[in-house]
């Protein structure tokens, strides 16, 4: 059985925005500039208030992009704020962000980052 190193101080940022514009690209650029190291995106269908806007009561489907990012606790607020502003999420219907804690995260960690995390006592190793 291999030795697993996992991080215990990570947060999951999930963002749901419209696919019709370049909003998600702007938000990812902002997240990168704020220090985020990676992201995953997939498409989804949104349902809600716009369903009532279709002609003759026919529901209007709205294509959405769901962005998922993992960040450390000190990056969390910076990345969320950058994405919120870049995506102009204060506009009605523009989208939303939610943040959830991660209990543990296992992934490739460069040695330069690993040594710094060990100094901060933010890494646990399990056999």
């Amino acid at each position: 059985m291999s030795k697993i190193t996992y991080l215990t101080d990570s947060w999951l940022i999930t963002c749901v925005v419209s696919s019709a514009t370049k909003q998600s690209e702007k938000m990812l650029l902002a997240a990168r500039d704020a220090g985020a190291k990676g992201a995953v995106g997939h498409y989804a269908k949104g349902y809600g208030a716009r369903e009532r806007l279709g002609a003759l009561g026919i529901a209007v489907e709205t294509d959405k992009t769901v962005l998922t990012l993992l960040v450390s606790s000190e990056q969390r607020d910076i990345v969320v704020e950058a994405m919120f502003k870049a995506g102009e999420l204060d506009r009605p219907g523009a989208g939303y962000i939610y943040v959830m804690p991660i209990e543990r995260l296992a992934t490739f960690i460069p040695e330069s980052i690993m040594s710094r995390l060990r100094e901060d006592n933010r890494v646990r190793q399990a056999l």
Binding site: L29, A36, H42, P101, F108
Partner: protein, 137 residues
């Protein structure tokens, strides 16, 4: 709702952990073998996967100014397990995919405070090539 139990009245359920795996699509269908291995060796049947686009380590790739790198195809796997078995299954998943190697993917775990039980009907034969006792099938 703060401080209240998340369990709705009259609905059976338990506290679980959600293990999420992001795997690069390198043509080896690791997400399929992972789900088969989980079912065969750990009796996990609450697992699903979807395709997604991954922008891995965007900060380390050289790109034109104000441009993102080209995304790569990836798979997003979600595994729901009882809280008591989460540590064992998290280790099992990590051993299966080796997330500590560059470009291999990542695994993370979250709490799911309330999950309904799930079972499969009995007496239904396995589909061809889908023998849960053979993760390589």
């Amino acid at each position: 709702m703060r401080g209240q139990s998340p369990a709705p009245l009259g609905v059976p359920g338990e506290r679980c952990k959600l293990i999420t795996v992001v795997l690069q699509d390198d043509g080896e269908h690791l997400h399929v073998s992972l789900k088969k291995a989980l079912r065969a060796k750990k009796a996990v049947i609450r697992a699903n996967s979807t395709s997604c686009l991954s922008l891995t380590v965007v900060a380390l790739q050289q790109t034109k100014p104000r441009k993102l790198p080209h995304p790569t195809l990836a798979h997003f796997v979600e595994i729901l397990v009882p809280e008591a078995e989460a540590d064992d299954i998290f280790t099992f998943v990590c051993d299966h995919i080796g997330p500590d190697e560059l470009g291999s993917g990542l695994v993370f775990q979250q709490t799911a405070p309330f999950c309904t039980p799930y079972s499969l009907p009995e007496g239904v034969p396995e589909e061809a090539g889908d023998d849960p006792s053979d993760p390589t099938a």
